[in-house]
């Protein structure tokens, strides 16, 4: 078991060890410690750190680094991530590999500093123009954040796409023991610029959008088939299955353990990839399950849409889907248990 480390510091150190060699970003709470750590750490390993004049400049510097085939990443929160949407859709469009870390904070507009999961729909559907879908990974512990960061880099390069590590304010700010990865040798991918035009490209006005749409759908299908990730507990015989990710997911895992102890047949699917959504996880679920319960830290219930879509797809009959949206923070295990009881008693109605 590793040493106590702050989530944001663990992510920053792990990125360096995974061979990332360009970071460009702009400070914003609760993500800033990633940048602060990188600001001295990156030069130590000969990598590039740029404190960008804005989040937009930051993501575009990442585009520059990624265009050269160098592991490049940035981190931000709330409005800072909103500003990066144009850059993210371009990364996808240009098939450049890069990692975006969203340390999610609560709120519309300028927002708050609370930990939350209110960017789910935006991250999974893409807030920029077009049809692109980034890979979205959601850790529930610092160790998982570090491990998934490695996955994020690998997948983004394997599929030439953007990967988002969608973590939460609380996970960035908290500490727990974590084993950091070994150092790997930084690479420069052959599809990156080398000044010699080794990798040919057509100009924007010469592209065939119809063909590219087909290729994009194929790529997405492959990712959906191969890269669904999740954890599950006790879903095979469950009357009700919770679906919850990140820190609320971790808390829900605890609530499930407690509920089971109290004799309730409940289980949980904890999505680790939010896109692709782990549809396969639902195949193991008791076919007679009475309902699914989405637990989230946002105001409106966002992931619940994916839960409902998946339930519709995977079950021949129409299973009810419930939404527990706790706005911000990490829901208390006891609160989840109590709300579960209300659902089982019919006091909380399904939303889909």
């Amino acid at each position: 078991m590793g040493e106590m480390i702050k989530g944001n510091h663990a992510i920053a150190e792990a990125a360096v060890r995974f061979g990332a060699r360009l970071y460009a970003g702009y400070p914003i709470t609760p993500s800033t410690e990633i940048m602060e750590y990188i600001s001295w750490r990156m030069p130590e390993v000969g990598g590039a750190f740029v404190q960008a004049e804005s989040e937009i400049a930051g993501i575009n510097m990442v585009i520059g680094g990624a265009a050269c085939g160098v592991r490049s990443f940035t981190a931000s929160s709330g409005p800072g991530i909103s500003l990066k949407q144009e850059g993210i859709t371009q990364l996808y469009d240009e098939e450049l590999a890069a990692v975006i870390i969203n340390v999610v904070r609560y709120g519309n507009g300028i927002g708050t500093l609370y930990s939350a999961q209110c960017d789910y729909l935006r991250e999974t559907r893409g807030g920029g123009n077009g049809d692109y879908r980034p890979i979205v990974l959601c850790p529930s512990s610092i160790q998982e954040a570090v491990d998934l960061l490695g996955v994020a880099f690998d997948l983004s390069e394997k599929y030439r796409t953007v990967a988002v590590l969608m973590t939460e304010g609380a996970l960035g700010q908290m500490m727990e023991p974590c084993d950091l990865p070994e150092f790997i040798e930084p690479k420069r991918y052959p599809w990156g610029f080398d000044g010699k035009y080794s990798y040919k490209k057509v100009g924007i006005f010469e592209r065939d959008s119809m063909k590219e749409a087909v290729a994009m759908n194929e790529k997405n299908a492959v990712i959906k088939e191969n890269e669904q990730r999740w954890a599950d507990v006790d879903v095979e015989d469950a009357d009700y299955v919770f679906v919850s990710f990140g820190l609320p997911g971790r808390s829900t895992e605890g609530a499930v353990e407690e509920l089971r102890k109290a004799g309730h047949k409940v289980g949980i699917i904890r999505p680790i990839t939010a896109w692709p959504f782990p549809e396969k996880a639902f195949e193991k679920v008791n076919p007679n399950v009475k309902g699914f319960i989405s637990v989230e830290a946002n105001a409106t219930g966002q992931m619940v849409e994916d839960v409902a879509l998946t339930v519709k797809k995977k079950f021949s009959d129409n299973k009810p889907v419930y939404s527990l949206a706790y706005v911000y923070g990490i829901p208390e295990m006891e609160k989840i248990q109590k709300d579960y009881e209300k659902i089982a008693a019919g006091e909380i109605k399904e939303v889909f």
Partner: protein, 246 residues
């Protein structure tokens, strides 16, 4: 004594610029310099959105079509991870001085070791001739149909002057691609800019006054005349910051 001259290999594909458009000369000069410096196969371009985007069909070099205005940041990212390659940004006046003013000035502010070429045709060419930050006082465009009123919209921005006065940059100049003499001078400026980068001296920028016959509603020859009589009045030609090494 005739000297052999030929379009550089990396820019030899035909372009789809309008007849008499200055972009064609500007890009030829840049690629000629790169070739002469032996850097034509050691270069990456950040290309702005605008008629410059048409270079996608021309340039056979590493090149990224940057998001509108962001070439300053993209080139920063490229250069920081590729210190041994030449990094060149090629943008229009709208791209560099309006939407991209933050990225353009910030790259100059940091004295980023890149070369920036801004084709100034005093309007947004690609989108059909709207006013830009370099549109001349009184100039009619599709968003200043009565002629630009500087009291409301501001007066033409002078970027080489601005960075020379305010920031610690390596080189700044303004040329025009109108006559053989001006073209030759402009080429010298471009060479200076690229040399500054090659020597690691920092940020270099050359603004290139360029005809946009289509949106000016002029013939190519009238456009050249217009540049000499009207445009240079607001945008004086010459070097604003010379290289210290010289």
């Amino acid at each position: 004594m005739a000297k052999a001259r030929k379009i550089p290999e990396i820019a030899k594909k035909p372009s789809s610029f309008c007849p008499g458009c200055g972009h064609g000369i500007a890009i030829r000069l840049i690629t000629e310099c790169l070739e002469e410096m032996g850097q034509d196969t050691n270069v990456m371009f950040g290309i702005g959105v605008g008629c410059s985007s048409l270079l996608g069909g021309v340039l056979e070099t590493d090149r990224l079509h940057c998001l509108h205005g962001r070439a300053g940041a993209v080139c920063t990212g490229m250069k920081r991870v590729s210190p041994n390659q030449m990094v060149v940004s090629y943008q229009g006046d709208g791209d560099a001085y309006s939407i991209g003013i933050g990225e353009t000035t910030s790259a100059a502010y940091r004295n980023e070791n890149i070369s920036v070429f801004v084709v100034n045709n005093t309007n947004y060419g690609m989108t059909g001739g709207q006013m830009s930050n370099t549109t001349l006082p009184g100039q009619k465009t599709t968003t200043s149909v009565l002629g630009r009123d500087c009291a409301i919209t501001g007066s033409p921005i002078k970027f080489p002057e601005l960075v020379s006065d305010q920031f610690n940059v390596a080189y700044a100049a303004r040329g025009a691609v109108t006559t053989p003499a001006e073209i030759n001078k402009t080429k010298k400026y471009i060479k200076e800019a690229l040399t500054a980068q090659l020597n690691g001296e920092g940020y270099s920028v050359v603004e290139i006054l360029s005809a946009c016959p289509t949106n000016w509603g002029m013939t190519p020859l009238q456009s050249v005349e217009h540049i000499h009589t009207k445009v240079v009045e607001h945008f004086p030609l010459g070097e604003y910051k010379t290289r210290e090494a010289k």
